[in-house]
Symmetry: C2
């Protein structure tokens, strides 16, 4: 591993370099294997242990010390790979359920939402352009490989919501009880920013405001965004399973 390789990988912590090189980092053998299975092309695979050449072609053996130098994690796993981004599907599919994120900022939340979406079979998430980048190392880590299976589309959320033929739901602190909401066959559900919720300009495009009911003794003002998203997905899909 050359100094140039090290520099290249370190650069990929920053969104501008990920965009420039159209590449991102995946850590841990399980996640690397998930991205390979999903047809992503590896540019480099580094590992502190010997890997099966048939599964991981052209991998390079490195020392623990070298891994620590390039890893984004406090406690590095035993392998790190650089993958090429797949060209983004510009078109939003006509899936029955579309999850839309308005300005989510926490990488752990976005990663957890991608992981949960994958679990429920959602293959596409629509995000406002200012939502945290899905190739951010902390997002990739939190998806536990699920990012390989879910495409994340960054778009002008207001335009998307104006143009969709599906009814648009959004989670709010004061809305209709989600447990009494009968979702139609197709729906878009918007989840808002961690601190500020859904922006007024997006709120005006939402036809039905829903709420996860809160206990009267609760102190918390809101649920974590990834928990709210999980409850919404769960409520939509529980009828299917």
């Amino acid at each position: 591993m050359t100094k140039a390789d090290q520099k290249f990988i370190k650069q990929l912590q920053q969104k501008k370099y990920r965009k420039l090189h159209k590449a991102f980092v995946v850590e841990g053998l399980k996640s690397i294997s998930d991205f390979l299975k999903a047809g992503f092309t590896p540019l480099h695979i580094y590992s502190t242990t010997i890997l099966d050449e048939q599964l991981y072609s052209d991998f390079e053996r490195i020392t623990n010390r070298e891994l620590r130098q390039i890893s984004f994690l406090k406690h590095p796993h035993n392998a790190l790979a650089v993958f090429k981004m797949k060209p983004v599907a510009g078109k939003i599919t006509s899936a029955d359920f579309i999850l839309a994120l308005d300005n989510l900022q926490d990488p752990g939340n976005l990663g957890t939402i991608i992981r949960t979406a994958d679990w429920f079979g959602i293959r596409q998430i629509v995000c406002s352009k200012d939502t945290v980048d899905c190739y951010n190392p902390k997002v990739v880590q939190a998806t536990m490989g699920a990012l390989a299976n879910v495409s994340v589309i960054y778009t002008d959320l207001a335009v998307f919501l104006q143009e969709t033929a599906k009814p648009v739901y959004g989670t709010f602190l004061q809305g209709d009880n989600i447990y009494k909401t009968v979702f139609p066959a197709q729906a878009v559900v918007v989840i808002g920013n961690e601190g500020n919720g859904i922006r007024p300009e997006i709120e005006s495009l939402i036809s039905r405001q829903i709420t996860i009911p809160k206990s009267s003794s609760a102190m918390a003002e809101s649920l974590n965004a990834s928990v709210a998203a999980a409850v919404v997905m769960n409520e939509f899909f529980r009828q299917k399973f």
Copy 2:
């Protein structure tokens, strides 16, 4: 603020000193206010802005620089307080729903679970002794004040499960479909460790294994522990609201 004060606060990042001093740190005015409302006693309140003396007695004004020195956060809020721990209620209440955590290790997950539990009106969580400390600064942060409202009891989980009269459920990858599970009026539900799930010695004490059904196209092997806990709480409480 003296050097000794700074040292004291820094020590509280470590569990052994929190235990020794029976004190923990809360950051951000909203969370500090939640702990005060819940009857916790502040030892010190530091703020970069002037606070209402009636609500925040004996607060000490500090500079941004001083706050950065004592804060556990990358981007400190405008206030930090040290609170006395409340004596732990040794007895586990007879609440209808008891959430039990087996060796949860991620502070963000525990914090999010406490926040979600508070939302659903759960006032007590039972944890195995090796579960991450609820006064860990990252846990406190992730609860968004909800820790003030939920007591977390660390106990020998196997003994607790042996002694409880309630039916004991646990989340597994292969179990009965949670959507088809009719929960009884009272139940204990066990959530396992992030990587390893529920330990065999705990599993043997579980009378019914439940699963959140997974899409056949999913790549993720499991759900995030805080998401699994949220779905379980949601399923139990959706009948109530």
